[in-house]
């Protein structure tokens, strides 16, 4: 059967066909839909983990116990999971194990562009790189054979365009594999130094075997068009190069890329006058190939950054520029992403904005990072998941040394980020007697990546019953004495709570508790907590509107200012009635729909 699938859907199908027993992930663009698509396969136990390190560790346990296991994460997630990865690379597997890293050349939805192929080389583990959806599925199935044959976790490196582009896939059947027998094996799995020193040699022996495999792997092959020019490439760059240069060149297509096949590369270069290495981000293949061949052109010609799309290749190799219709910049203005109408982060940031001169704001990864833009201007910095509390703590320490600077550090993160790595950061602050204001914007879901459940949502990926991690209790248990939970849509409550926290000289926590407006699944008990949620929309009484535009400072996309008649109106298609603008209006011109004047 043939089906058009994204790479993410196809790799999920691959997990099913490979007989995978257990999969774990933390959501992150462009990897999120992989586990979401594994979820419906009842043959696989699929779980969201609170972070990538935990996901990989659960997968390591599943593998040691004999199951075929899969960990999925975006590129920066591998940084979080690197600690267990580097030691699991020593111990090897019982059941086959694969780590999918979804990289982001071009940084469509990420804070950096790191090339995770370097991790495979660094950890000395085999790596595969699919170019399209069919390969995503087929290669993943084979990755489990490689993992079990060579006794190593396999790194499976995808990129945004492989993950999110659709192409046609021929489906196969599931291979049912029983979990392998687990027997205690001290010399293999207990990585104390004495064992580690032995395993260190095992790793080098394994690499030598993998080098031989790489030379004959079916995923590394040449395509001859009888050209004097050769191209060495991998992943999506292979598809891009075919598009740009087609049958005018020969190809060495590399799908198994750690260790790289030295003999294949040397032989290919020997048969061509000029060889271009075309790859996104780092000169990973190029640096290797240039050690053995002197007719290679790589990053001396191609850019280090961004995607290696066909136009880039044509420009670099053929000096060819395609001209289309001329774009007229006077005809459009920016359209940055923004908080949705009814987003529970709006009320909090509106009130916090009034303190802008007295505070420094440490941001984090999630929808609330959108407060960096107009009209909020709320972030001083944003580093990585869970970093807002800890960076704020360090910054406050230095600010407090300065006699002429009295600013307070306010650190914001969401519920999913709090569970991810925020708990550790808060523990650090309270343990060390820090005095920062720590905010948990609890919208009861992992929002930015598209509504994935987390340990606070009450739901699991494959099951509607889950214990709920209580954030308020966690904060108190860590030792925070000053914790307040508030409704972020009640601006008076928000204002008073910020004032309260600004006066404190010890660690404080503010939990803003209101669900994401896009949240789809609720517990019955939620409706008791969030009473009257989004029942009536807000409207403007035109006669009362003075056109002062103060309500627009809420940054709500439902508010429309008509420059001609100098009045604001509310788009009833998108307003959900959060009442934030109603509370801001100094002239009582905004009321609940159906309100009797």
């Amino acid at each position: 059967m043939k089906k058009i699938m994204t790479g993410n859907e196809a790799v999920a199908r691959g997990a099913y066909e490979a007989g995978v027993h257990f999969a774990s992930a933390y959501p992150g663009t462009p990897s999120t839909e992989i586990l979401e698509n594994i979820g419906p396969y009842k043959e696989i136990i699929a779980e969201w983990a609170p972070n990538e390190k935990v996901a990989l560790e659960a997968v390591i346990g599943a593998s040691i116990a004999g199951g075929r296991s899969l960990a999925v994460m975006k590129h920066v997630g591998v940084n979080v999971a690197a600690d267990p990865l580097f030691t699991f690379a020593y111990t090897g597997v019982t059941g086959g194990s694969v780590l999918i890293s979804a990289d982001e050349p071009g940084m469509h939805s990420s804070q950096n562009e790191q090339d995770n192929r370097n991790y495979a080389k660094f950890a000395k583990i085999p790596m595969m790189e699919p170019s399209n959806s069919q390969e995503s599925k087929d290669m993943l199935v084979d990755a489990y054979n490689i993992s079990e044959e060579f006794d190593s976790i396999v790194m499976f490196r995808m990129t945004t365009r492989v993950c999110h582009s659709k192409s046609i896939v021929e489906l196969g059947e599931r291979i049912e594999v029983s979990p392998r027998k687990y027997e205690k094996n001290f010399g293999k799995y207990v990585a104390v130094p004495a064992i580690g020193r032995k395993l260190r040699h095992t790793v080098e022996d394994r690499l030598n075997k993998l080098k031989k495999y790489s030379e004959t792997s079916k995923w590394n092959y040449t395509v001859s068009n009888n050209s004097k020019i050769g191209i060495i490439t991998s992943g999506m760059s292979y598809e891009f190069t075919w598009e740009a240069l087609g049958e005018t060149v020969d190809y060495l297509k590399l799908g198994f890329t750690n260790p790289l096949p030295k003999d294949l590369i040397v032989d290919f270069c020997g048969k061509h006058e000029t060889v271009y290495v075309i790859e996104e981000n780092d000169p990973y293949i190029e640096d290797f190939a240039k050690k053995y061949c002197n007719n290679i052109i790589g990053k001396d010609l191609f850019p280090y950054t961004g995607e290696m799309t066909p136009d880039v290749i044509k420009r670099c190799v053929l000096s060819e520029n395609v001209e289309g219709i001329e774009t007229n910049p006077d005809l459009f203005v920016g359209r940055p992403p923004t908080f949705c109408s009814g987003c529970p982060h709006r009320g909090f940031f509106y009130e916090l904005g009034k303190k802008r001169k007295e505070i420094i704001v440490a941001g984090d990864i999630g929808c609330y990072s959108l407060a960096v833009g107009e009209p909020y201007d709320m972030m001083d910095w944003l580093i990585c998941m869970g970093a807002s509390y800890s960076t704020a703590h360090g910054a406050q320490r230095i600010i407090d040394l300065k006699e002429d600077d009295n600013r307070r550090l306010v650190a914001v993160m969401g519920d999913s980020t709090f569970f991810h790595t925020g708990i550790n950061s808060l523990l650090n602050t309270v343990y060390n007697g820090g005095n920062t204001i720590n905010v948990i914007l609890d919208n009861r879901i992992t929002g930015m990546t598209g509504q994935q459940d987390n340990p606070g949502s009450g739901f699991k990926l494959q099951d509607d019953s889950a214990s709920i991690g209580d954030i308020e209790s966690i904060c108190k248990a860590l030792g925070v004495k000053h914790v307040r939970k508030i409704n972020p849509n009640d601006l008076n409550e928000v204002k008073n709570t910020i004032d309260w926290a600004m006066e404190l000289t010890e660690t404080s926590v503010i939990i803003t508790d209101w669900p994401c407006v896009l949240k789809k699944k609720y517990k019955e008990s939620d409706f008791n907590i969030y009473e009257d949620m989004w029942k009536t929309k807000d409207i403007v009484i035109a006669d009362k509107c003075t056109g002062c535009k103060i309500c627009l400072k809420s940054g709500c996309p439902s508010l429309v200012f008509d420059a001609e008649n100098k009045k604001v109106s509310i788009d009833s298609n998108t307003c959900v009635g959060c009442d934030v603008c109603l509370q801001i209006c100094p002239f009582d011109a905004i009321v609940k729909e159906g309100f009797d004047e």
């Binding site: 043939k2 058009i4 663009t29 462009p30 999120t32 839909e33 469509h108 939805s109 945004t160 365009r161 999110h164 582009s165 659709k166 192409s167 046609i168 598809e239 891009f240 075919w242 598009e243 740009a244 995607e307 799309t309 066909p310 136009d311 395609v322 001209e323 289309g324 219709i325 001329e326 774009t327 007229n328 006077d330 005809l331 459009f332 203005v333 920016g334 359209r335 940055p336 992403p337 923004t338 908080f339 949705c340 929808c367 959108l370 833009g373 107009e374 009209p375 930015m448 990546t449 598209g450 535009k549 627009l552 940054g555 996309p557 508010l559 429309v560 200012f561 420059a563 298609n573």
Partner: protein
């Protein structure tokens, strides 16, 4: 001969469903098809696009600047933003509808004027009152399928069964409405 079609709009306008229906029809007709879209940050009311390429054999899933045969824009300003992707002899199908962005909503910057007049001087342009007609049909959301109907007409391929593709990709209770919307677009 490979063809490139780009659908652009604002997050929430239904570009993805329209692209999905188009892909189904193309695959049924036996074409090799690739499609690309960007997820994540860009979905929160930002600019969005879906790219569809079809032919005998397709490699790249993305359309480069200057190589789209047809650009379908669900919104005026987005057409102006993305028109550089069109071939010089390409076709622009534009929904005569404006959606404010954060910067025009608060009145700081005006929503640009004369977009359609200017673009239609640069390139062959088909203007559709998609949003207005969708509201008349009873649901503003079917604008995307009205635009798909207009696209089907401009593609001039008689081997594509869009109606079957709509039935396969739309929730049962919305099929009839979407078929009406499709016909509306097709008969422009």
């Amino acid at each position: 001969m490979n063809k490139n079609i780009k659908l652009v709009g604002v997050g929430g306008q239904g570009t993805i469903l329209a692209a999905k229906v188009l892909c189904s029809a193309l695959i049924d007709a036996g074409y090799d098809v690739k499609m690309s879209e960007i997820h994540g940050m860009s979905q929160r009311g930002g600019s969005v696009s879906s790219e569809i390429r079809f032919g005998d054999k397709i490699y790249s899933p993305v359309i480069e600047k200057g190589l789209a045969d047809i650009l379908v824009s669900f919104e005026q300003m987005e057409a102006a933003r993305q028109v550089g992707y069109l071939k010089k002899d390409g076709v622009l199908i534009i929904n005569n509808h404006k959606i404010n962005s954060m910067v025009t909503l608060n009145g700081k910057i005006k929503y640009p004027e004369k977009i359609i007049e200017t673009l239609s001087k640069q390139v062959k342009t088909i203007v559709i009152d998609g949003t207005k007609e969708a509201i008349e049909l009873g649901n503003s959301k079917v604008m995307n399928i009205i635009m798909l109907g207009a696209l089907a007409k401009a593609m001039k391929l008689d081997n594509l069964d869009f109606k079957k593709a709509i039935k396969e990709n739309v929730k049962p209770k919305f099929i009839e409405l979407n078929l009406l919307a499709y016909n509306q677009g097709l008969n422009k």
